[in-house]
């Protein structure tokens, strides 16, 4: 499945209203493949809204989102398959083990083997917790488990909303490394955080 052009992600003049509030006022973003964007701004500046617009969960009042030369609203499910999202909620069922959760969520997209799962869990440093029920994991461990899902998703566009929440210092470093690696490998990363992202080549989009 080759897209007509490999130009990455463009957000063009997006305006979004939430009730009476004009949250996004003409946001532009050009994120070609291989770029790592840090979306910054004070609380309520619309960081999450921007990510949700890009993901297609919110429809903007004006403007458009373009992925590899095509408007995402015309791409439908095909666009979803090329995108991985890490939101505030990790989408893990408390009664299932981390492995069962991730195997299911990745399995919706592609066939996944135990070897791959093991490798990804150890990469995120939670190999010994993979077979515990998710309800027994700490918030940081859940976040790492959710990152396993992103890592295995085969998506080239990563949308990460506050990925560093609940992570320890080593975790922040690990996540930063994974995001930078994904961008370097030809993917696109959009991440919102309040703290600076200590990786080379990170571009910043400031929302007011």
């Amino acid at each position: 499945m080759t897209a007509p052009t490999q130009t990455g992600l463009q957000v063009q003049g997006v305006h979004l209203w939430r009730g009476e509030r004009h949250v996004l006022r003409g946001v532009h973003l050009d994120a070609p493949l291989g770029t790592f964007w840090h979306v910054r701004g004070p609380n309520g500046a619309g960081k999450t809204s921007l990510l949700r617009v890009v993901a297609g969960f919110l429809w903007p009042e004006d403007g458009k989102v373009v992925w590899n030369g095509q408007e995402t609203r015309h791409l439908g499910d095909e666009f979803g398959a090329q995108m991985a999202c890490l939101g505030h909620e990790p989408a893990l069922k408390a009664d299932l083990t981390a492995r069962e959760n991730i195997r299911y969520l990745v399995g919706l997209r592609r066939a996944v083997t135990d070897v791959e799962l093991d490798a990804a869990f150890s990469r995120l440093g939670i190999a010994e917790h993979a077979d515990r029920p998710t309800r027994m994991l700490s918030a940081g461990q859940k976040r790492r488990a959710a990152m396993v899902r992103v890592l295995l998703s085969d998506a080239s566009l990563w949308l990460l909303d506050e990925p560093f929440t609940n992570l320890d210092v080593a975790g922040v470093e690990l996540f930063t490394g994974l995001l930078a690696e994904h961008a370097a490998g030809g993917g696109v990363v959009l991440a919102t955080t309040h703290q600076p992202i200590p990786a080379p080549g990170v571009r910043t989009l400031e929302l007011a």
Partner: protein
């Protein structure tokens, strides 16, 4: 990790099967919750013989109605949880961007929901039937009708549950939405049990209920999928 090299994308049916398996597995981790509707069904239907005269002929006359109203109300109990937890923990978002058609995922959810909430009612039907003086010869048809009816209701309920995802206390609203639509199920279902008790042919109600179920299951997943998308806004 590089994207897309040598990995096999999951097909639509395989993804639906995975959702079905996971939903059923999840339900079995909480057996108490799963059994609530069937316990409710048993209790409500045994209240009638206790409160009415225990005359068998009279019980037999009203048993189809009791059976069906009981099954309808018990199924309603389980409906609100159909999508709620998945909305709250972010699973619905993952469904939407999984690259799989959302309506097919919703259909898998409907079937799984029926397996854990509708099938136990069907299994309990002979017990309830016996307490309501339904002759054993009518058990088979009754179970078949109940199975079709609860499946149809799960389909209707999915659309209702998805539409009411936006409101906090949705159970009353959900009942108001779903119960009027469920009336044909009640009418044909009860009539079918009635005929079965009298020993008359039940082909008519069975076919009508099957048609209703097929119609519901082919339309409501789309409606529910659209409503789920709206609920993410």
């Amino acid at each position: 990790m590089n994207a897309g090299e040598g990995t096999v994308p999951t097909g639509m049916l395989a993804a639906a099967a995975a959702t079905f398996r996971r939903d059923v597995a999840l339900a079995f981790r909480r057996p108490g919750q799963m059994l609530q509707p069937v316990v409710f069904f048993l209790i409500v239907t045994t209240l009638f013989p206790l409160s009415l005269s225990p005359q068998l002929s009279q019980l037999r006359d009203i048993s189809p109605g009791i059976l069906w109203v009981g099954a309808l109300l018990s199924s309603l109990l389980a409906l609100e949880s159909l999508f709620r937890a998945d909305l709250e923990d972010g699973t619905l978002e993952q469904w939407v961007i999984s690259g799989q058609p959302l309506a097919v995922q919703v259909l898998a959810r409907i079937l799984a929901h029926w397996t854990v909430s509708g099938l136990p009612l069907v299994a309990a039907a002979p017990l309830v039937g016996a307490s309501l003086a339904v002759p054993a010869s009518a058990f088979g048809t009754t179970m078949l009708l109940l199975g079709l009816g609860t499946l149809c209701l799960s389909g209707l309920g999915a659309a209702g549950a998805a539409l009411t995802l936006g409101s906090r206390r949705a159970s009353v609203l959900l009942s108001l939405l779903v119960l009027p639509l469920a009336m044909p199920i009640l009418i044909f279902g009860a009539r079918g049990v009635d005929l079965a008790i009298l020993g008359e042919p039940t082909r008519g109600p069975l076919l009508l209920l099957s048609a209703l179920t097929i119609l519901t299951l082919s339309l409501t997943p789309w409606a529910a999928a659209s409503a789920v998308r709206i609920s993410l806004e």
